[in-house]
């Protein structure tokens, strides 16, 4: 009887541990919701981390000049010393034959937003407001004919932007330890 009760207890504890693990060392502190929000700048494809705000193509065109983007990336996204931001080719050219341009080839518009927000402008990273990042993203998507001139980007509309690449890109292999980097590849 006693051992049966013990067994039940073990089973109960086991299932609890499965649902909610227990810490081993109890080291580290719980960050506040505010701390998490401040640091959580990786914007995934669903856009769930996007902050409130909105931006338009027109505002973005203005900011592109104001914030000095044009100095490095060229007046209209072409011809500067930094990577080009506007494709010279049209939509009739298959995406993989067009230039490797972030606001064109990225599978998600969130990737464009994420990079401007974390990495631009060079030397003044972290100074753009959410509205400004939405606007600049809108402008860059517009000059690559990804969105229309009158579209407004915000946390709802940005993740829904259909990028020209669609699903025409490779996903990475399911990684496992001690596995060849590519099945059937001897090297």
């Amino acid at each position: 009887m006693g051992s049966l009760r013990l067994l039940a207890l073990v089973l109960l504890l086991g299932s609890t541990a499965f649902a909610q693990s227990a810490p081993t060392y109890g080291i580290g502190r719980t960050p506040t919701a505010e701390e998490v929000r401040a640091l959580d700048i990786s914007i995934g494809p669903t856009g769930e981390e996007l902050p409130p705000g909105r931006g338009t193509v027109k505002q973005g065109a203005e900011l592109y000049k104001q914030k000095g983007c044009a100095v490095c990336h060229g007046a209209n996204g072409i011809g500067g010393p930094a990577p080009a931001l506007k494709s010279k080719a049209g939509a009739e050219v298959p995406i993989w034959e067009r230039e490797r341009i972030l606001p064109l080839r990225a599978p998600f518009a969130t990737t464009v937003w994420d990079y401007i927000n974390r990495g631009m402008p060079l030397g003044k990273e972290g100074t753009l407001t959410a509205d400004e990042v939405y606007s600049l993203t809108a402008y860059l998507l517009f000059i690559n004919q990804v969105i229309q001139e009158d579209e407004v980007l915000d946390r709802q509309s940005l993740p829904k932007v259909k990028m020209p690449i669609g699903s025409d890109y490779a996903s990475l292999p399911d990684w496992k330890p001690k596995t060849r980097r590519l099945k059937d590849y001897p090297y």
Partner: protein, 423 residues
């Protein structure tokens, strides 16, 4: 090594009689040369005076001048006009053993950046997302946790060899190996409790671009290291002080420097560093992820000069992202005959393995090469073999898809000069 040198200096300063009891080996020749008068012989070399600075922090000999260079030749300079650093290659031609000194370790940054000057007392690592308990760890917290110390190489995706390069620093210098100390990421993740829905994690640095990469949770649970130590001291700023990830066997960019945040997520996040890995072809994408078996001869190598015919121990390095090196073979006749090389020490998983092969050079022109296999049976290919796999015609400037792990030939001319065999 340092203490041996010091004792020899003390000996010379203090006189043979004083030091004799401590260093027999050094005192013996002095006695042999000493005439009956008891007068010590004149110094053979100029002496280095001990200064406060040299006592506090040692320096290498002024005769040792091996340095890093910007990579690639003719590419973006490091530092640039603003003091930003992009790609810097380690002088493998001068390397011995398997550890790259921290001050010579290769450096790469996400896009060219300054080195953040981080106060470790202010630095934290936050783990959040799909976990039961988000946690923030200070450096002090991390040092309380069980640690591991492991040898691991790190290699940049840009470590490719071509016909234009002249020496092994240019061909292979974007790879280095260090002894890393820290906490396994899996230890921290278990402390947080990873939810079953978490399949990927995003790691992010604290430098100005906040470089972020997505990696599989399976890798985190296997062997990813959150490192605060490198070669017996704190990780250096160029290598990610005070805290970095070491992701054994994956392309270097995944080993996130200045790591400040790890987020557990349910999909591939496709942030900017991931965009750099985007490919049309699933095979190429896979080959741009985990590093294949690779080896190179560092002596004799491009730019070096053999003084004449006779014995040389050919020496080189082998490594693989798939695990430990299993075999290394060396050819001294342009790849016709392959000979088993000897390991200098026991091969470690995802670490440089030093190999050697004794060779008598007959003074004729030849080509020397090395190739290796790893513990999971992957083999280092020649460029011709790779072209054959992809079913494309082989050309001299053939570019290996994915990370370049092809065989590197060095040509030895009759005058003993060593040059790039691809040229």
């Amino acid at each position: 090594m340092g203490s041996k040198r010091t004792s020899r200096r003390e000996l010379l300063k203090g006189g043979a009689a004083l030091a004799g009891g401590f260093t027999l080996g050094a005192v013996a020749p002095a006695l042999g040369q000493t005439p009956a008068s008891g007068q010590a012989p004149a110094h053979d070399h100029p002496m280095i005076k001990g200064s406060k600075e040299l006592i506090a922090y040692g320096e290498r000999s002024r005769f040792v001048t091996s340095v890093r260079i910007a990579h690639p030749i003719g590419g973006r300079p490091s530092p640039d006009a603003f003091g930003k650093v992009f790609h810097v290659a380690t002088p493998l031609q001068d390397s011995v053993g398997v550890i790259t000194p921290s001050s010579l370790h290769y450096v790469a940054t996400t896009r060219g950046s300054f080195m953040p000057d981080i106060d470790p007392k202010q630095h934290t690592l936050m783990i959040h997302g799909l976990v039961d308990r988000p946690l923030t760890f200070t450096m002090e917290d991390l040092k309380r946790l069980p640690s591991v110390t492991r040898l691991h190489f790190i290699e940049c995706a840009g470590n490719r060899h071509n016909a234009r390069q002249t020496n092994v620093q240019e061909t292979h210098g974007m790879a280095s190996c260090a002894e890393w100390t820290g906490v396994l990421l899996s230890t921290l993740l278990k402390e947080c409790g990873v939810k079953g829905s978490a399949t990927w994690f995003v790691a992010e640095g604290a430098e100005e671009v906040k470089g972020a990469s997505s990696m599989p949770v399976a890798k985190a649970m296997d062997d990813v290291l959150v490192a605060y130590g490198m070669n017996g001291e704190p990780v250096r700023p160029q290598n990610g002080f005070p805290l970095r990830l070491v992701v054994p066997g994956f392309e270097g960019i995944f080993s996130t420097k200045y790591v400040r945040r790890v987020k557990l997520v349910d999909r591939y996040y496709l942030n900017y560093n991931d965009f750099g890995h985007l490919d049309e072809d699933a095979k190429v994408a896979a080959l741009d992820y985990q590093i294949g078996p690779k080896s190179v001869i560092t002596y004799p190598s491009g730019g070096q000069q053999l003084p004449g015919r006779g014995f040389y121990e050919i020496s080189g390095l082998a490594w693989s992202g798939g695990g430990a090196i299993r075999t290394v073979e060396v050819s001294t006749d342009g790849g016709r005959k392959w000979n088993r090389a000897e390991f200098k020490g026991t091969p470690q998983r995802m670490a440089f393995t030093r190999f050697g092969y004794g060779w008598n050079w007959d003074g004729n022109e030849t080509e020397i090469l090395s190739r290796c296999t790893d513990e999971i049976g992957q083999a280092q290919p020649t460029r011709e073999q790779v072209a054959k796999y992809w079913n494309v015609p082989f050309e001299r400037n053939y570019r290996v898809p994915g990370l370049d792990n092809s065989v590197m030939p060095w040509r030895i001319a009759r005058d003993g000069s060593v040059t790039n065999g691809l040229a």
